[in-house]
Amino acid sequence: MSCEEWLSSLMQAAENNLDDLDPAERSRFEAHLARCARCQAGLEEQRAVWEALTARADAAVPPGFAARVVSEVTPGRWVDVLRWKTVTYRLVPVATGLLLFGLMTARNATDAAPPVGLTDLAEAWAFGDEVSPSFTVLGYEDVSGDVLLDVVLSAEPDEPLVRGDSS
């Protein structure tokens, strides 16, 4: 075998791993090595660099490195953002439903268009608009025509109509 064909064995020898070799192959390699100056030089070369690099002392990690990395990737940052988006996306159907409900309710309310306050009701009555004889408006129950008349008559000029004493 040529020297190049012993490359793998030579590298294993350089890394003190000859025990991993098949015993017969190891014997052949060692026989070759014993008579081959080139492989001996190659072995020294490979072993010297391997030993130097495996003995390389670790450089100290800068203080706070892990904390900085964790702050970049933990829920306080991007994960929360992702979750916020996820929650938002999941709420889209609910929000849409509420919006549609609100629109439909508003439309119905507009269609009915009842007076929404006692003053409005009194003004409507005073100007001859047709009003129902009995209403339930903002907590006033059974607002009769007499009550509305009382409101109109007790109002000062240029002031809003207010409910007077109906008793």
């Binding site: 130097a52 690099l53 390389r56 670790d58």
Partner: protein, 210 residues
């Protein structure tokens, strides 16, 4: 089975403790791998941090087909390539080598304690590593510095194992003359007389083999 799998699965759900544990478990490896790739503490920190950020942001894609450790190394290699491209556009190579040399000479001059010696040793090695091409340097670092097996490196770099061995062999050959100050002169054995390319011929048949 990957010893990190349980932590990785927890980290995939956003578990901050799991992420923290994984970062602390691999921060020294990643920082030093980056340090050997960049020969600069500042660049190494940026590169290592970017590696972790990419890893955790892409953790949902991790399927456990390789170990988490090797997956990190693969990301680090890719980040290193991107980083090298940026650096190459920013400053000429000779400026970066000079910077590393100045630091190394500073430590050589100090002749201080064991800590200084180990720093000097590391600086000399990193300086020699920085002279290698990426093709030779990365597998050499992964094997001799980081301790990955040949088969692991083949998976990380997606290169046949024979090619990995060949590149490591050649990388060591090129490193040896650069480490005379650190290791002493080579033996005056046949084939070494020229002091340059003695010993075994560089294997070429291993390239591309599996």
């Amino acid at each position: 089975m990957d010893a990190d799998l349980a932590l990785v699965e927890a980290a995939q759900t956003g578990d901050a403790d799991a992420i923290n544990t994984l970062v602390r478990r691999y921060e020294t490896r990643m920082f030093n791998f980056a340090r050997t790739l960049t020969a600069s503490d500042g660049d190494a920190e940026d590169l290592a941090q970017e590696t972790f950020i990419r890893a955790f942001r892409g953790l949902r894609r991790f399927r456990g087909e390789s170990s988490f450790k090797n997956w990190l190394y693969r990301i680090a290699v890719n980040v290193g390539r991107t980083h090298r491209g940026k650096r190459a556009r920013q400053a000429p190579v000779w400026e970066r080598r000079l910077e590393a040399e100045e630091v190394s000479e500073h430590h050589l001059a100090s002749q201080a304690d064991d800590l200084e010696q180990s720093v000097m040793h590391r600086q000399a090695l990193d300086r020699a590593l920085s002279t290698l091409s990426e093709d030779l340097r990365t597998p050499l670092i992964l094997h001799d510095v980081e301790g990955l097996e040949y088969r692991e490196i083949a998976k990380v770099l997606e290169i046949p194992i024979g090619t990995i061995m060949s590149r490591i062999f050649r990388a060591r050959r090129r490193m040896r003359p650069l480490l005379v100050d650190l290791l002493g002169p080579r033996d005056a054995t046949p084939g070494n007389e020229s002091g340059g390319t003695g010993g075994l011929a560089e294997p070429v048949t291993a390239e591309g083999s599996s």
